[in-house]
């Protein structure tokens, strides 16, 4: 199969975002999208999707069930940039605004067959107590303007910085929508806290062609 010529291979992924457990939140919906390298291109299926809004089940587990289908096929010549699925979960806060409840990302399975994955979900938060209070009050949480950033490895580290000296661009890292708060904070130190976990099943087929 593998010859001296560069071969194109297809990866077909189908499955679902099954359910989530977020102990503190209810009435959530999720969005998924795929992040992949330059050598990859989707050939069929949907690259993005938004699910329905779901409420917690009444039983002990308090599952939030979406059962949201995922169906996509990629074409590539190089395993570098293997696709990742990025899932963002949103829900209403106490004032009714739509805020982000978690982001998570995982690589699409590498081997053919049935895979079940549970992924942790992160939400960025600031450690400054003043900013936490104002963001809760205003309904403007720190969130990524482009959720695809969570699938990248570079720039995830966070540095403590003071506005006067170190211009280590938070905008390069995460593009937080913090324009309202930047004047209030001399110490801006977002960290990530684990908000919940998401279970989903993926079946993937690796096809060699030609």
């Amino acid at each position: 199969m593998a010859t001296a010529n560069p071969t194109v291979f297809l990866v077909m992924v189908n499955g679902q975002v099954e359910s989530a457990q977020f102990p503190e939140f209810d009435d959530l919906y999720c969005k998924y999208c795929f992040v992949y390298g330059q050598d990859w291109a989707p050939t069929s299926g949907l690259e993005e999707g938004i699910s329905q809004i779901t409420s917690k089940s009444a039983d002990v587990q308090h599952n939030l069930v979406w059962n949201f289908p995922i169906d996509i096929t990629f074409k590539s010549t190089n395993p570098f940039g293997w696709p990742q699925i990025v899932i963002s979960v949103y829900g209403p806060d106490v004032f009714g605004n739509d805020v982000v409840r978690g982001y998570g990302a995982v690589h699409v399975p590498f081997t053919p067959g049935r895979h079940k994955r549970t992924i942790p979900m992160f939400v960025p938060e600031s450690t400054s107590k003043l900013q936490k209070l104002t963001s809760w009050f205003m309904g403007r949480r720190p969130e990524y303007t482009d959720p695809k950033l969570i699938a990248q490895g570079e720039g995830r580290e966070v540095t403590l910085f003071q506005l006067s000296t170190h211009n280590y661009s938070i905008s390069r890292l995460w593009a937080f929508s913090l324009a309202v708060f930047s004047a209030w904070n001399t110490l801006l130190h977002p960290t990530i806290k684990l908000a919940g976990s998401l279970k989903f099943q993926l079946k993937s087929y690796l096809l060699q062609s030609f």
Partner: protein, 175 residues
């Protein structure tokens, strides 16, 4: 040239006594290896566990190596640091693991250790924080000068890596 793809995630860490943790990672290879795509080192975000005790990073790793020889097979080395509410960082552990050499998906659990100083340094670490660190971090993945160290155990870092090999059979290497 044979090629190796290492794709996966640094999932998280368990067993550390401190809470807010981040990890600095790097991959060290021998002279015959060349990195074709991907970044060789990085640093995760700081994670403070809210549910349970595992700190999750889900930090993606995607590397593409080309090699002319098996010597210097990639070694992943890690430094786990903790950060307190004042923003001070303290070393929690060093660890390393060879990248698996068989193709497929691997779950790695990399144990870590941290250098202990004398009783003075240990007392100072308990009260003030800080603690001894290695001057040259290559001791983490080589065995050369380890006998000088007295260390204590840290927690465990969990990784999930998929290894894809290409053209190894052409050079007579069975994988």
């Amino acid at each position: 040239m044979a090629e190796v793809h290492v794709i996966g995630q640094i999932v998280g860490a368990t067993g550390f006594s401190e809470d807010s943790l981040f990890c600095k990672w790097g991959i060290h290879t021998g002279g015959a290896w060349k990195l074709l795509s991907g970044v060789r080192e990085g640093q995760t975000q700081v994670d403070t566990p809210q549910l349970g005790s595992m700190a999750y990073w889900s930090h993606p790793i995607d590397l593409h190596f080309a090699t002319k020889g098996l010597q210097g097979w990639p070694r992943l080395h890690l430094q786990v640091w903790s950060q307190d509410s004042f923003g001070r960082c303290q070393l929690s552990g060093y660890g390393f693991s060879h990248v698996p050499s068989s193709p497929g998906i691997h779950s790695l659990h990399c144990v870590t250790w941290r250098p202990l100083g004398g009783w003075r340094e240990q007392l100072a670490r308990a009260f003030v924080g800080g603690g001894p660190q290695l001057l040259h971090s290559d001791v983490v993945y080589t065995g050369a000068d380890r006998y000088r160290l007295h260390t204590a155990a840290g927690g465990t870092v969990h990784l999930e890596l998929a290894v894809i090999l290409r053209n190894f059979s052409r050079y007579g290497v069975e994988c």
